[in-house]
C-alpha cells in the first residue's frame, strides 16, 4: 500500500479536508489502522477545536479517532476525561484551548476518543517538537475543516487531502475544485534569486524581485488590503514579485494590469497563503505568469468519499477515474478499500 509507505517515510503528516464530511477523519482512521505496528512510534492530535465544536452545535455526530496501543495522542482535558480508552497520562501542557489545557497520553489499549489539540499553527509546531522529545517518529495532524493552515509546510512536512461528494454533487465540478486546490498545493518551489532573503523575512509585505536578483520592499505595500495606496508599478521592469501575506485575485489582477507578462514570477509563502480563484489562475496562465511557492508541501495522496451527508452517492470508480486523470498524485476511495 503506497499511501501508508509514503506516510511512514514522512516525519509529520496533516490530513485536511476540502469540505466538511469529505471523510477526513475516516481517512485518518484508515491510516492509523494500516500503519505497520512497531515500526514507528506515532503521535496524533487535531487542530479541530474551533471548527469542529460547531459540529456538536449543528448536531451532526463528530467522528472519534481510532487509536492503537502504544500511540501517543494529545487532546483537551475535557475530552481526555471523557475518553473510553485505557491510557497513561504523560504531560499536561500550558497550551490552552476552549476545552481546557492540552494533555498528552499513551494508549495502553486500542479504542476511540475525540481529539482536540492545539488550536493555532504555532501551538501545533510546539506540539510536534514535544512529541519528538517523547520519542515519536511520525506525527499525524487531523486538520480543521475548511482550514488548510495545519497543512502549511511551516508546520507539517507532508499532507493528505480528502475530497468528496460533500464538496459538490457534480463529478465534473468536484474534480475542477479539487484539481484547483491540488494545483496550488503542488505549485513549483521558487529557487530563484533572493530565495534566502525571502525565507528569512518575517511578517507581511510585498517585495519586487529585480532583474539583477536583488529584492526590495514595495513601499506601503504591507498587505493586499492597502493595495490601492500602492502607487508604484508592481511588474514593469521586474523579474517577479514576492507576496509574503495573502495572495488574492485583486492583487494578481493588479500585477497583470501593471504589465506582468511571459516569464514573470509571482512567489507566495506557501499554498495556505494563496486565495486565488480558478479563473484567476487561468488569467495568470494566459499571461504566461508563473505561480511559485517559497515553501512547498508534499501532497501524498487525495482520498475520496463518494457519499455526502445529504444522501448523494457518486459512482466511486467514475469519480476516482476522473480525479486520477486530472491529478498527478494517487487517488484512493478509502471507503471501498476498507470494506
Amino acid at each position: 500500500m503506497t499511501l501508508i509507505d509514503d506516510i511512514v517515510e514522512s516525519r509529520s503528516v496533516s490530513v485536511v479536508g476540502l469540505e466538511k464530511n469529505t471523510g477526513k477523519t475516516e481517512c485518518l482512521n484508515y491510516i492509523i489502522r494500516n500503519l505497520p505496528a512497531g515500526r514507528v512510534k506515532v503521535a496524533v492530535t487535531s487542530i479541530g477545536v474551533d471548527g469542529e465544536t460547531t459540529d456538536s452545535v449543528t448536531g451532526t455526530s463528530k467522528p472519534e479517532i481510532f487509536l492503537r496501543e502504544g500511540m501517543l495522542f494529545s487532546t483537551s482535558e475535557k475530552h481526555y476525561l471523557q475518553r473510553r480508552i485505557l491510557s497513561e497520562l504523560l504531560d499536561v501542557s500550558d497550551e490552552s484551548t476552549a476545552l481546557g489545557r492540552v494533555v498528552t497520553a499513551r494508549a495502553l489499549d486500542y479504542g476511540n476518543l475525540l481529539l482536540s489539540g492545539p488550536s493555532t499553527g504555532k501551538g501545533l509546531g510546539r506540539w510536534i517538537r514535544k512529541m519528538e522529545t517523547l520519542g515519536a517518529g511520525l506525527t499525524l495532524i487531523d486538520g480543521a475543516i475548511s482550514r488548510l493552515s495545519s497543512a502549511s509546510p511551516a508546520i507539517s512536512e507532508a499532507m493528505v487531502l480528502s475530497t468528496g461528494a460533500a464538496l459538490s454533487a457534480n463529478i465534473a465540478e468536484l474534480v475542477r475544485k479539487t484539481a484547483h486546490t491540488v494545483g496550488l498545493i503542488m505549485a513549483e518551489k521558487y529557487s530563484g534569486p533572493g530565495y534566502e532573503r525571502m525565507s528569512g523575512l518575517e511578517g507581511g509585505g510585498i517585495w519586487n524581485i529585480c532583474t539583477d536578483g536583488s529584492i526590495r520592499q514595495v513601499p506601503s505595500g504591507m498587505s493586499a488590503l492597502s493595495l490601492a495606496s500602492v502607487k508604484d508599478n508592481l511588474a514593469r521592469g521586474f523579474a517577479g514579485i514576492y507576496v509574503s501575506g495573502a495572495l488574492t485575485d485583486r492583487l494578481v489582477d493588479r500585477i497583470i494590469a501593471d504589465g506582468a507578462g511571459d516569464g514573470f514570477e509571482i512567489v507566495a509563502r506557501d499554498f495556505t497563503k494563496v486565495f486565488v480563484s480558478p479563473s484567476c489562475v487561468a488569467r495568470m496562465e494566459r499571461a504566461g505568469i508563473m505561480l511559485k511557492m517559497l515553501m512547498t508541501s508534499r501532497l501524498l495522496a487525495v482520498c475520496v468519499n463518494p457519499v455526502s451527508p445529504n444522501g448523494i452517492i457518486l459512482d466511486s470508480s467514475r469519480l476516482c477515474g476522473a480525479l486520477e486523470e486530472k491529478l498527478p498524485v494517487p487517488v484512493y476511495d478509502l471507503f471501498r478499500l476498507d470494506s
Binding site: Y80, L81, L86, E88, L89, L90, V92, D94, R106, Y110
Partner: protein, 453 residues
C-alpha cells in the same frame, strides 16, 4: 501592605528589572507579584542570606541547570489542593499533576541536599521542598518513578481482569466491561483522594517552597550576571546612601546607542535634599533611581550600584507632575498637590516614607511656586522625613542640603551630583534651549529679559 504587583509598573522602571529575571515557571512569577514589600531590617537581611546561599547553587552549573529544568515544570495546582481539602474526588489529570509535583520535589531535594548548603538545616534560608515520598508511594504503586499516571492495575486486582476482557471482547460485552472498569477507577480515585487529603498542606508547602526557590535563584542569577550588589541593610531610620548607583534600563538603552551611563553617588545625610540643575539635566532620572533602589532592597533584590547602605521605609512616594491625573478630571496642579498631600499625611500619621518629588508646583506662578516648595522642604524637615525634591526655584532661606546634577557637558550626560555651594540654582535654561536649535530671535529676547531682572 504594598505588594510587588502594586509597584511593578511604577515610574521608577522596576518592570524592566522584573522582566530581566530568569524565572523558570509562571507560578513563581505570579507568586513574586503577590509578594508583600518587606519593611523590617531582619526580614530583608534574611532574604539576602538566601540569595547568597543560592549563589553557591549557581557555582555548580550542572546542579543549577538540573534544578531550573525541574522548576520549569512547576504548575499552579493550588486549585487542586483546594478541591482536595473540600473532600472532592480528583480526576486523573489532577492526580497526575500531584504525582508530578512529588517527583519534582524529590528530584530537587536529591540535587540540593548533597550541597550541604547549611550545616544546620534549621539555619538554612534556601527553601527546600518537603519530603513527599508518601504521596509518591500512593501515586506510583509499582515504584516506577516515571512521570506518568493512570489508574494502575495494581490498585485493584479486579481491574486487570476487566481490562483483559475489554481488550478481547467487542460490542456489548466490551461496553459492559468498560462501564464496570470506569466505576472501579472512580472508586480508586475516591480512595486516593481521601488518602491524599492529609498531605494537602505538606504538598502546598512544597509547591510554594519550589516557587520561592525559583525566585531566589533568579535573583542570585541576575546579581551574578549583572554584577549588582547586596546592600548593607541599616536599622530603620538609618541614613543610607549609594555609590555608583545606576538605572539598568536607561543604562542599557544608552549603551545600545553607544553611550554610557554615568553612575551617581548619593547619601541621605540630611533628611531633606533639594536637587537643582538645568532642564534635561537628569534630575528625574536620579529620583527614579532612588525609588528603584529602595524597592529593590525591600523586595530582596540586589542593587545596581557598586555599594549601598539602605534603611527600610514603610512606603515609597515617587511623585512627578505628569498629566496622568487628568483621567480623574483633576488639573495637573490639583493632582500634584493631592499626591504630595498624601505623602505628608502618611509621614504625619501612618509610617516612615521615602518621598521623592519631581519639580513640585512647576505649573504655577514662580512666586507662589517658590513659596510652596520652600514650605514643603521645611514641612518634611520638621517631620524628619527622608525626602528628595527637585526644583528650578531658588529656595534660599530654608535649611536643607542642596545638590545639583552636573548635567550635559562636553556632549556627554553626567548624572553625578555636586554641592550647589554659593552659586545657587544654575541659570542655564536659555543656553539649553539654544542647544536644541530653537528660534534664535526668541532666545535672544529671552536672554535680554533675563539680564534685565
Amino acid at each position: 501592605m504594598v505588594r510587588f504587583k502594586d509597584i511593578v509598573d511604577s515610574k521608577c522602571g522596576i518592570r524592566y528589572y522584573f522582566e530581566g529575571l530568569e524565572l523558570s515557571s509562571g507560578f513563581s512569577r505570579k507568586l513574586l507579584l503577590e509578594t508583600p514589600m518587606m519593611t523590617s531590617t531582619e526580614e530583608i537581611k534574611a532574604s539576602y542570606i538566601s540569595v547568597l546561599e543560592a549563589v553557591r547553587v549557581l557555582d555548580d552549573y550542572d546542579v543549577y541547570e538540573s534544578v531550573t529544568a525541574r522548576l520549569c515544570e512547576l504548575r499552579d495546582i493550588t486549585a487542586t489542593f483546594a478541591r482536595l481539602e473540600d473532600g472532592e474526588v480528583l480526576d486523573e489529570i489532577e492526580l497526575f499533576e500531584i504525582k508530578h509535583l512529588a517527583l519534582v520535589s524529590a528530584k530537587v531535594r536529591e540535587l540540593l541536599e548533597p550541597m550541604n548548603l547549611c550545616s544546620d538545616r534549621v539555619e538554612c534560608r534556601l527553601p527546600l521542598p518537603e519530603d513527599l515520598s508518601e504521596v509518591l508511594a500512593l501515586l506510583d504503586p509499582d515504584g516506577l518513578g516515571i512521570n506518568s499516571f493512570y489508574i494502575y492495575d495494581s490498585y485493584d486486582p479486579r481491574l486487570a481482569e476487566l481490562r483483559l476482557v475489554i481488550r478481547r471482547a467487542s460490542g456489548e460485552e466490551r461496553a459492559e466491561a468498560e462501564e464496570k472498569a470506569a466505576a472501579m477507577e472512580a472508586a480508586v480515585r475516591a480512595s486516593l483522594s481521601a488518602s491524599l487529603k492529609s498531605f494537602s498542606s505538606l504538598m502546598k508547602d512544597s509547591l510554594y517552597s519550589l516557587a520561592r526557590l525559583d525566585i531566589i535563584l533568579a535573583k542570585a542569577k541576575m546579581m551574578e550576571d549583572k554584577g549588582y550588589v547586596i546592600p548593607k541593610v541599616l536599622e530603620r531610620g538609618g541614613k543610607g546612601g549609594y555609590e555608583g548607583l545606576f538605572h539598568p534600563q536607561i543604562a542599557d538603552s544608552l549603551s545600545e546607542s553607544g553611550r554610557s551611563f554615568q553612575p551617581i553617588d548619593f547619601s541621605y545625610s540630611s533628611p531633606v535634599t533639594v536637587l537643582v540643575g538645568m532642564n534635561m539635566g537628569g534630575k528625574s532620572v536620579v529620583l527614579k533611581m532612588l525609588a528603584l533602589a529602595q524597592y529593590l532592597v525591600q523586595f530582596g533584590f540586589a542593587v545596581p550600584a557598586t555599594s549601598a547602605r539602605v534603611a527600610p521605609k514603610d512606603e515609597v512616594f515617587l511623585i512627578s507632575g505628569d498629566a496622568e491625573n487628568s483621567r480623574e478630571g483633576l488639573s495637573s496642579f490639583a493632582g500634584e498637590i493631592k499626591a504630595i498631600d498624601a505623602s505628608i499625611a502618611y509621614a504625619r500619621n501612618i509610617g516612615e516614607p521615602l518621598v521623592l518629588v519631581d519639580e513640585p508646583a512647576r505649573t504655577t506662578n514662580p512666586i507662589e511656586g517658590t513659596a510652596l516648595v520652600s514650605a514643603l522642604v521645611q514641612t518634611f524637615s520638621e517631620l524628619g522625613t527622608a525626602a528628595v525634591i527637585t526644583t528650578h526655584y531658588d529656595i534660599a532661606g530654608v535649611r536643607c542640603r542642596q545638590l545639583r546634577v552636573k548635567g550635559y557637558s562636553e556632549g556627554k550626560m553626567d548624572y553625578s551630583l555636586a554641592d550647589v555651594g554659593e552659586a545657587g540654582v544654575p541659570h542655564e535654561a536659555i543656553d539649553t534651549a539654544r542647544r536644541t536649535g530653537a528660534d534664535s530671535r526668541w532666545l535672544d529676547l529671552a536672554r535680554r529679559f533675563a539680564d534685565n531682572r
